[in-house]
């Protein structure tokens, strides 16, 4: 019965076949060394961030009155809460390290050259989005260092010609950092940036499957 359902689904979706041919049996150059793991490790960090981020979403409250206390609850009272928050914190640091290592490897191996220019561009955009995650996530615990660091960071776009002030007031949700800033950073952090990431990540992965990995030198 169950096997039959699987067979019917397989007939329609060809999951097993795709997994077999496109994942397990796809050809990669031989002599790949450990530096070729950095991209995959970046993705591992991303998965850990998603999992721990979703777990914390069940407890975090994005309001000026409760943000700090809800993070305090996650940190000190929730069983495993400290580990969940800790894994989120360390993965957030790790993802930056692995992206930098991945990019350095790609530059040194000249792997961004034709036909992989757009792999590189999608990657640079993903790096920018990751920095956006770091910037917006930093404010969420609503503690002193978050508040005052954001005070400096959020004014950075002010100098952009013509629209600088608009960017700043869009991010802040007003003329100073407050309830709306927290709401907006939260919305960016858990909805907008993840969606952008999903799009570029999919493009990044589809393209590298299409062209294959640049062979080692």
């Amino acid at each position: 019965m169950f096997g039959k359902i699987i067979d019917l689904l397989e007939e329609r979706f060809t999951f097993k076949k795709s997994l077999q041919e496109d994942v397990f049996e796809h050809k990669v150059p031989n002599k790949l060394n450990f530096t070729f793991c950095f991209g995959g490790l970046t993705f591992l960090m991303f998965l850990l961030l998603v999992a721990t981020g979703i777990a914390m979403l069940f407890f975090y409250v994005p309001t000026v009155d409760h943000a700090f206390t809800s993070v305090e609850y996650i940190t000190f009272d929730l069983p495993m809460g400290n580990v969940i928050r800790g894994v989120h914190h360390w993965s957030a640091n790790g993802i930056i390290v692995f992206i930098c290592l991945h990019m350095l490897r790609v530059v040194v191996y000249g792997a961004y050259k034709n036909p992989r220019e757009f792999h590189w561009i999608s990657g640079v955009l993903l790096f920018a989005v990751t920095l956006g995650f770091g910037f917006t996530g930093y404010l969420l615990p609503w503690d002193q260092k978050a508040y005052w660091a954001t005070n400096v960071g959020v004014l950075m776009p002010k100098g952009v010609p013509f629209i600088g002030d608009h960017i700043v007031s869009f991010l802040m949700g007003g003329s100073n950092i407050g309830a709306l800033t927290l709401s907006r950073f939260f919305a960016l952090h858990i909805a907008v940036l993840p969606l952008i990431t999903a799009v570029f990540l999919l493009a990044h992965f589809l393209m590298i499957r299409r062209t294959g990995v640049a062979r080692p030198l």
């Binding site: 397990f24 049996e25 050809k27 990669v28 150059p29 031989n30 002599k31 790949l32 793991c37 995959g40 490790l41 591992l44 960090m45 000026v64 700090f68 993070v71 305090e72 940190t75 400290n82 800790g86 894994v87 360390w90 640091n93 790790g94 930056i96 350095l104 530059v107 040194v108 191996y109 000249g110 792997a111 961004y112 050259k113 992989r116 590189w120 640079v124 920018a128 920095l131 770091g134 930093y138 615990p141 609503w142 503690d143 002193q144 260092k145 508040y147 005052w148 660091a149 400096v152 950075m156 952009v160 600088g164 950092i177 407050g178 499957r209 062209t211 294959g212 640049a214 062979r215 030198l217």
Partner: protein, 140 residues
């Protein structure tokens, strides 16, 4: 299939291997080590809490995450009259250059030894960013 695109570069398909188990094995070992490291950090260095945000405590000295430290420190070093250099021009030019790398460094030669300009530029940028980060963390 699409797999041959990486082969024609020097035309011999023999120098390929199948992803599973060959490369997946290496990738899996790396993933397990890194995962264990992350969990160990989370367990042995418990997260703490600072003080709740206080908009009136303007004497508080802000400190960004280390990956923003290079930009933060550069902003601090520059006189405010040229503030636009670290905040806008730097990131814009840097980001654009980074994105256009494949079109600037576009000769098909991939060996780093034969691309001295690209390598020197990469080294200079890497050293400056790392230098600013370290300086920001320890001197600030």
């Amino acid at each position: 299939m699409q797999d041959d695109v990486s082969a024609p570069e020097n035309g011999d398909t023999e120098k390929q291997m199948i992803f599973f188990p060959n490369f997946l094995f290496l990738e899996a070992i790396a993933a397990i080590i890194v995962f264990a490291g992350i969990v160990a950090l989370a367990v042995f260095i418990p997260m703490a809490m600072g003080d709740p945000a206080d908009p009136s405590a303007s004497a508080f000295k802000p400190k960004p995450e280390w990956y923003f430290m290079s930009a933060f420190y550069l902003l601090k070093l520059c006189p405010s009259s040229i503030e636009i250099v670290p905040t806008i021009i730097g990131p814009a030019v840097g980001g654009a250059l980074l994105m256009l790398m494949p079109f600037i460094d576009k000769h098909p030669e991939r060996s780093p030894k034969k691309r001295p300009i690209a390598m020197i530029l990469t080294a200079v940028i890497t050293v400056s960013v790392v230098g600013l980060t370290v300086a920001g963390i320890y001197l600030d």
